[in-house]
Symmetry: C2
Subunit: 342 residues, 2 copies
Amino acid sequence: MTKRVSLKDIAQKVGVSTALVSYVLNNKKQDRIGKEVAQRIRNTAKELNYRTNLIARSLKTNKTFTIGLIVADISNPYFSSLARIIEDEADKYNYTVVFGSSDEDALKSGKLIDVFLNRHVDGLIIAPAEDTIGQILSLQQQDIPFVLIDRYFPECKTNHVALDDFKAAYKGVKHLADQGFSRIGMITYNNGLFNLLERKRGWLAALKDSGIAFKKNWLREIGPGPVKQAVEKALQELLSMPQPVDALLFASNTIALHALKHINAMGIKVPQELAVLSFDETEAFDLFYAPLTYIRQPLQEMGQAATRILLESIGRNNKITQVNLEGELVIRQSTSRNPGKR
Amino acid sequence: MTKRVSLKDIAQKVGVSTALVSYVLNNKKQDRIGKEVAQRIRNTAKELNYRTNLIARSLKTNKTFTIGLIVADISNPYFSSLARIIEDEADKYNYTVVFGSSDEDALKSGKLIDVFLNRHVDGLIIAPAEDTIGQILSLQQQDIPFVLIDRYFPECKTNHVALDDFKAAYKGVKHLADQGFSRIGMITYNNGLFNLLERKRGWLAALKDSGIAFKKNWLREIGPGPVKQAVEKALQELLSMPQPVDALLFASNTIALHALKHINAMGIKVPQELAVLSFDETEAFDLFYAPLTYIRQPLQEMGQAATRILLESIGRNNKITQVNLEGELVIRQSTSRNPGKR
DNA sequence: TAAAATTGTTTAATCGATTAAACTTCCGTT
DNA sequence: AACGGAAGTTTAATCGATTAAACAATTTTA
């Protein structure tokens, strides 16, 4: 590898000090610097194809122009789409994104945060896993800029960008009720993530407001462990009750995916025998024979907002910004009372 | 932000020089260092919660323990899955991954490479876009370690990890022919990427070996621009010919996705009216009413191999490793001659 | 017992940039 | 002519770690 060109090389060639070169290339002290030398420095820099050594700069300035992104799983389309949006937005401001997947595991999350801080990221965008509130509080105490995305802790005054999960769930379930479905169940995860609780709360509220008496066994909460089996079991149970549910809300795309596969395998007719509605968007929903009604999250807005809030926060802005965006209910065949003709 | 603890702080507290502290914490000169001081240094380091400043270390050692990953689009499940695997594998060796999407655009790709080199990544894993061979050669000249993934340039002696695309396509098309389909078309991209050409070649070879006379208009190559419209148009044409195709090979998951949506919308019966077979895997294929036959790429192996080859290469290993893995044909309903009963 | 070798530790240069402060010139003003 | 200030540039410290080389103290060897 041919040695990289440094400030010193330019300084030597032009016959000035490195300080002057630095000032010129960073456009500082503009008014004080001789026009002619400045030009010569600039030319030489171009000629030698000089590139700032960002490592050295970072060491001095304590800034890396890097942001860390921690999601549950980068291979989940929800998060990879977000990652893409954040990447593009960060790039606009010359930031680079490093990423890591927490696997919804507090230990891994902690390790990732550590690694990223060790690498001196300027800030973090985090979709916090369960039981990581301690890590978040610790970031806050250390005054490290960060923004929570997708999930957050209501008891914690931090930047966040997320859905209004209550409203979104409410809207979806209300739609089901309005269509005439009267036994509306839900499959969600058995964990304490606030946004999932909100979705549950929205579901319950919509049932209530629709005059539907909620039955306890309409709700299935799947625990940690393999999702596939748990979802299949839950579906099985929900449909084999004396009075089975006639509609289902899935709390995430992963749950929906497994459920739909099983529904396909069992030959259950959607929406005639069972209407289905899911959170999140994925291309897969379009390919299901009865295209899925789903709650679309405004990913573009979320990703951009999170990035901008983070960058503002890095810029020594101390105010806290909390954004809850509204989900859009995309109504399609899977929740239709009269699906008949295509 | 409370000031970070530095070597100096430890040195001061223990009453030794920073050199000694550095030696101890890096386990260098083990035999020369007093056991008792070493222990005191280690204790103090732990006590003060010392973390190496990686920026400073990088500046001195010229190593960042970072690898750059450039894919076409991180939000494409194919690439995000790869990214996840690479992330996990890199983590095992304490490397961090930074990523960027080239959008199949040579300019963007060049810019990303630049940004990553500027940040002194130790090496790159790249799914090269069309017309980026120049960038690749330039990396090679600069002796920068890199591995191409998914695609490569056969005329270029570089590390790569990819599918044996010819064989994979051949296998798939042969399967179609064996099932009795005799008018087997293909939709691919109209670009010069070697792996796509190989897929085309495999398709042609399988046709030939199956005694099928290839008709020119069975092939649709979609150009740059919006994929959706192009795929729909291609499908339309392929099916409205006097003698329409009875089976189709899609060269990528994106093409397949758009095609399947259109097939759904048009009410075309798969596989009765049209058998379909696609490259790549995505959950969406499972939800199509006739689960898709597809060519599964061994992503896990690919990602791990790419990462390991890169790390070896970073470790001053000059040999070139080229890996072409075999795809697995996952046969399901979409290519069945007797789909009847489920 | 003097020279040589070993052991334990420090000195100081270095990586490449940033930047406050100091230092020359030169000019205009009084 | 002397002084103040502006203009243009350099000096030198600094960020935090790494590491070859030097040094001092002790032990071994001949």
